[in-house]
Symmetry: C2
């Protein structure tokens, strides 16, 4: 989420290659120079692809070519991530012929952060390497299993929401998704960044036992049930029921 | 939904062939003989396919072969719908070569109802023609744009829920989906069936102005916001915020 107050990044940590091969991998990757830049990459899709892209970006950040640690705008950073993604997908998928066996080598990235001289920005980089940027009208981006958790964000978040509201909403959104879909699981990695702070990043890992996550999860579940129960039954339904 | 109390069917009515070709089509089809049987078909997917399947089933219901109005179990009805679906997809897609242009001819059906001598039953018929049946453990089935509206059903519905609760939940589920996805739209067609009633079906069409839909939609939206606001902020967030 890219709000006036700052940025919030959140990612789950479940990967699967079929239901009998489920594992935990961090999907949040940080590149930072406190005082000057923070770049965060969240990943979804083929794990071989996303790991390779992150490894190459990290390896090359020591080199002479333009890289994540010396580019002067987040736009250029998103373009570099897109280019590196295309490079890896081409390398891994081309010329294999039958070997590919219908495997999807694609991946999606959320690329966000702030570089001194710019506002904080976030981008969604598609498997094709092109990308879109979040704006004030649509201040959040999602990748991966995004649908279950979208309605609550649409209802409560706008550009002027606080980082505390964003945190609460992100946890509810993940909680709903985790309940409805096996491919999303705890722990959740979360990072808050206050606009123009350029402070060292302090990611927070939320496990099943995290007291705040428990409070939000139980409070939300109980609250929803109360709201549901307090809504009235329908008249036409009552007619239908007694009419038989 | 297949509950102890009976069945609830609900479908939206939006179809699209790209965002510049959006139309309204009823996706709920009834075959009934009050006192003896009710068979309801809900459809999702390629509209040419779903209309053809329904037309063929209706046309053949006057013939001598086994058909929807004389089969003696809902299982056989689901099997016939699956077979007819395979027939239409084969007819429309095979031998076209380049003409297909990547079009997906597939469709999904929910087939449900009650035939005298059986319990009420509902099935999900897949594009391949095979099918699954809802059970007491998982008393609901969804087709089409199902993810946005799934979390609320998972939270409040079980086999012993009342038909009034089911109605309320289905409207909330559709309301959330309609807010988050352009391909789902009002009106909603809804049908309630009380177990063993074999009463004439009275479908209810819910438009934007339906007073109960308005009550539920506004009450739910307002209630969610209240629950959200009442949940506390996090301690670690407060530390993060003041630490900078």
């Amino acid at each position: 989420m890219r709000l006036r107050a700052g940025l919030l990044f959140a990612s789950d940590s479940r990967t699967n290659a079929g239901v009998d091969h489920i594992a935990t991998f961090r999907k949040m990757n940080l590149f930072e120079a406190p005082g000057e830049r923070l770049v965060t990459l969240l990943t979804a899709g083929n794990l071989a692809t996303t790991q390779s892209v992150v490894s190459l970006l990290r390896q090359r950040a020591a080199g002479n070519e333009p890289h994540l640690m010396n580019l002067s705008s987040m736009y250029d950073v998103a373009e570099l991530v897109g280019r590196t993604l295309r490079e890896v997908v081409s390398r891994d998928s081309e010329g294999n012929g039958q070997l590919n066996q219908g495997v999807d080598f694609g991946a999606n990235f959320i690329v966000g952060g702030q570089i001194r001289g710019e506002e904080p920005r976030i981008f969604h980089v598609y498997p094709q390497g092109n990308f879109i940027e979040a704006t004030e009208d649509t201040p959040y981006l999602q990748i991966g299993e995004s649908k279950y958790g979208k309605p609550i964000i649409d209802r409560v978040i706008d550009y002027d929401s606080s980082l505390a509201e964003a945190t609460k909403c992100a946890l509810i959104s993940f909680d709903s998704t985790i309940r409805s879909n096996l491919s999303v699981g705890l722990p959740i990695d979360m990072l808050l960044y206050k606009s123009d702070s350029f402070a060292p990043a302090v990611p927070h890992r939320i496990t099943r036992d995290d007291p705040y996550f428990k409070t939000v999860s139980q409070g939300w579940g109980g609250g929803l049930k109360r709201v549901f129960e307090q809504l009235p039954d329908d008249d036409w339904f009552a007619a239908e029921r007694t009419g038989q």
